[in-house]
């Protein structure tokens, strides 16, 4: 009887999610696949063939690109996981969830592009670090001829990815750790003579890992397919596969779209294979781990490894903070000759003329971000409300549906999606871009809101029903106000995700929509750090403002409600 409650709501939500989220991804993959086998009537390619693949393999630097992609993707993901695990092991007892989450927020909020540009300003041969050390320590009076950014090994790219991924892993690990009896198991393990570090590796980590597996796959897929950060920090000739195919898609020679599509299809296979490989490695790790646990080694000396990981996490956060500071300083610099530690003269000139471009980009970014967030939030709340009314818990396939856009690489379907949009006449406008952003904003909003929504005391809702409040009134007068904080946090996360989007704007805006992100990435290859700084500062400032609002609004609105402050029962 109860399962029929809210059936229409659930069907509507499922319909919108299928048609709005899943269908575009499938249609995009389909069009990409057709083009990968020579079918793209728009450029006159109408014969089914393997030529695009032959072309792809023959393109200069292809194999190097592939190798580079695999190296940077796996290295950054593994390192980030190790550093985050070590940091948790070393610090967990001294961290409390609320404070740590607040400390991590700036790094989660900062868009990849802004952070990458700031990091380049920091570690480049003429960057801030070199300036701080010169000439007294290095003797350099001119920027040295070193490839510290865009290095052929992708070290700068890995570093940039780590600054974003370690805080993300820390956040999901902290959430997972709250479901594990850390203190009790740590005490039990240590009472059996195991060192703290080893209890973490042998007892705690195996309990945490299954809970963070999907986020690990999301990070792996992202690291293998990232474009904006790889353009700014990664090697440029040849670049990673994702950057290479983005270039081919936008090359003057439109025939390059065919091998680019083949590469995009290959990227999907690559990510799928990488996840399978990872799953295989899990099996091996479980087998080896069991063997290792049975030997009973106590290993009292795992301290140094933990300290190293802890130090690594701290260094990454300091680098991230310094990178954002470098952006701000450059945006108000007038003259800053090498090797001075600070600018010689300051100026607001780069900021003074919004009509020069950043005003428009700011407006576009805001409008797209707000619209996308509002749409995604509405859909997420409707979904959760549908689950509530049916009294159902989420099926695994539904959870998979939410994660789908985060697991399939963006480059793999966005070109195909732009072709579909072109055919249906919604291409190149703000609507197409908002739709594209929502594909990635919705999952994050949904993930952020689900746990707090389920944690709501159901008896409050029953009490409202017993007082005669119908479903709509229960939602708007009881649930949503009680969930103000998580709803606003989810909105801030969604907005930050939208602001950071690069590829969807690029592909679906057809070059006509310029946001802070697309402009910042384009400018990053130029020479004027002042102008680049302005765009990057604005790009980073928007998510910060959203997070700050999400933090402060509830404090303001609910300042007289102790029961929602988290302190009272």
């Amino acid at each position: 009887m109860r399962n029929t409650e809210g059936r229409w709501l659930r069907l509507t939500v499922l319909g919108i999610v299928s048609a709005g989220l899943v269908l575009p991804i499938l249609a995009g993959l389909w069009e990409t696949a057709r083009a990968a086998f020579g079918l793209l009537p728009a450029i006159g390619a109408e014969t089914l063939s393997f030529d695009p693949w032959r072309q792809l393999l023959a393109l200069p630097g292809f194999m190097t690109s592939l190798r580079l992609t695999l190296w940077t993707g796996f290295a950054s993901t593994l390192l980030a996981l190790a550093i985050a695990t070590g940091f948790c092991a070393a610090m967990h007892e001294r961290m409390d969830m609320g404070h740590s989450a607040r400390l991590l927020t700036p790094f989660l909020a900062a868009p990849h592009a802004a952070l990458a540009i700031g990091l380049a300003f920091l570690i480049a041969p003429s960057g801030w670090i070199a300036r701080l050390l010169s000439p007294w320590a290095t003797g350099w009076v001119l920027p040295p001829d070193l490839a510290t950014v865009r290095d052929p090994y992708g070290i700068a790219l890995i570093l940039g990815l780590l600054i974003k991924e370690v805080p993300f892993f820390l956040l999901v690990m902290l959430a997972a750790l709250s479901q594990v009896q850390v203190r009790a198991h740590l005490a039990a393990g240590r009472a059996l003579g195991y060192g703290r570090g080893l209890v973490w590796i042998k007892v705690i980590a195996p309990q945490v890992y299954p809970l963070i597996r999907l986020p690990v796959f999301v990070v792996l897929s992202f690291a293998l397919s990232v474009v904006d950060m790889a353009i700014i920090l990664g090697p440029s000739n040849p670049p990673t596969l994702a950057v290479a195919m983005t270039r081919w898609f936008f090359a003057a020679d439109t025939m390059l779209i065919l091998p680019a599509s083949a590469a995009a299809l290959m990227q999907t296979v690559l990510v799928g294979t990488a996840i399978l490989l990872w799953l295989g490695a899990e099996r091996v790790a479980i087998w080896l781990g069991r063997f290792w646990v049975r030997r009973g080694g106590r290993g009292l000396s795992s301290g140094p490894g933990l300290a190293l990981a802890g130090a690594g996490a701290v260094i990454l956060m300091l680098l991230g903070a310094a990178a954002l500071l470098a952006l701000l300083i450059w945006s108000v610099t007038w003259r800053w000759p090498f090797p001075d530690a600070l600018p010689e003269s300051w100026s607001l000139r780069a900021w003074s003329r919004p009509s020069m471009g950043w005003g428009t980009a700011l407006r576009e970014t805001l409008a797209i971000g707000l619209a996308t967030t509002a749409l995604s939030l509405t859909l997420a709340i409707a979904w959760l409300e549908g689950e509530d009314r049916a009294g159902m818990s989420r099926a695994r396939w539904a959870e998979g549906l939410i994660y789908l856009p985060l697991l399939v690489p963006q480059v793999a379907f966005l070109y195909g999606l732009s072709v579909t949009f072109l055919r249906t006449g919604i291409s190149g406008g703000v609507v197409a871009v908002i739709w594209g952003h929502a594909l990635f904003v919705f999952p994050y909003v949904m993930i952020a809101l689900s746990d707090p929504w389920r944690a709501l005391d159901r008896r409050m809702v029953r009490a409202a029903a017993a007082l005669g409040a119908g479903p709509l009134r229960r939602l708007f007068a009881v649930k949503l106000p009680m969930q103000l904080r998580p709803v606003l946090t989810a909105a801030a996360i969604g907005f930050a995700v939208s602001v950071a989007q690069y590829l969807p704007t690029l592909f679906l805006g057809a070059g006509r929509i310029a946001t802070l992100t697309t402009e910042a990435v384009t400018l990053s290859s130029g020479s004027d750090r002042r102008v680049t700084g302005v765009y990057a500062v604005l790009q980073a400032a928007l998510p910060f403002a959203a997070y700050a609002a999400a933090l402060m609004l509830p404090a303001l609105l609910l300042r007289r409600r102790l029961g929602l402050a988290g302190a009272a029962p």
């Binding site: 009294g391 008896r459 009490a463 017993a466 007082l467 005669g468 119908g470 106000p481 009680m482 409600r561």
Partner: protein, 213 residues
Amino acid sequence: MNALELRDVTICPSATRVPLFAPLTLHVPAGSVTTIIGASGVGKSTLIDFIGGHLSAGFEASGQVTLNGRDVTRLPAEARRIGILFQDALLFPHLSVGDNLAFGLDRAVHGRARRRAAVDAALDQAGLTGFYDRDPATLSGGQRARAALMRTLLAEPQALLLDEPFSKLDPDRRADLRAFVFDHVRDRAVPVLMVSHDAEDAAAASGPLIALE
């Protein structure tokens, strides 16, 4: 005529399909408090959930609930006009004490001033004069329980369910609140059904007693 009636009510968890108790048929007349007594875990609160329309997914029930001759078994909770006093006060934390009462107040009371006056009168009755703007989190346990009762009564329920409403209070406060609750509900001349595992509650209710096994 005014009565809450249960006919052959059984409830079982969907997983096991073993009924929690033997089929229950019950006539709860208006103006007195009928008490169902039983050990914890026997399904008293689940029975209250079923009568009020709040049965969780994971339970299946059969039988019929009628209120004043009207079959309410298939109605959603908000349409049954059955008030519930829960173990906890469950005041909405985002609303002030007065707004909590206003949330409950029957729609039939029109006009801002009249609604405000009704809420203020209820606050007076509960010994909470001047508490309209207070944060529920700053109230004592007894004050919260009285506010919750007032919120429930303002909705003009046609029947009342009491789900161990005194079990979480200190023993000395319990007697006071019990007297307060029973005084107010007897005035209403509506059927009242209480579940409890406390013999003192049942004695104070001084109405029919049913043991659930």
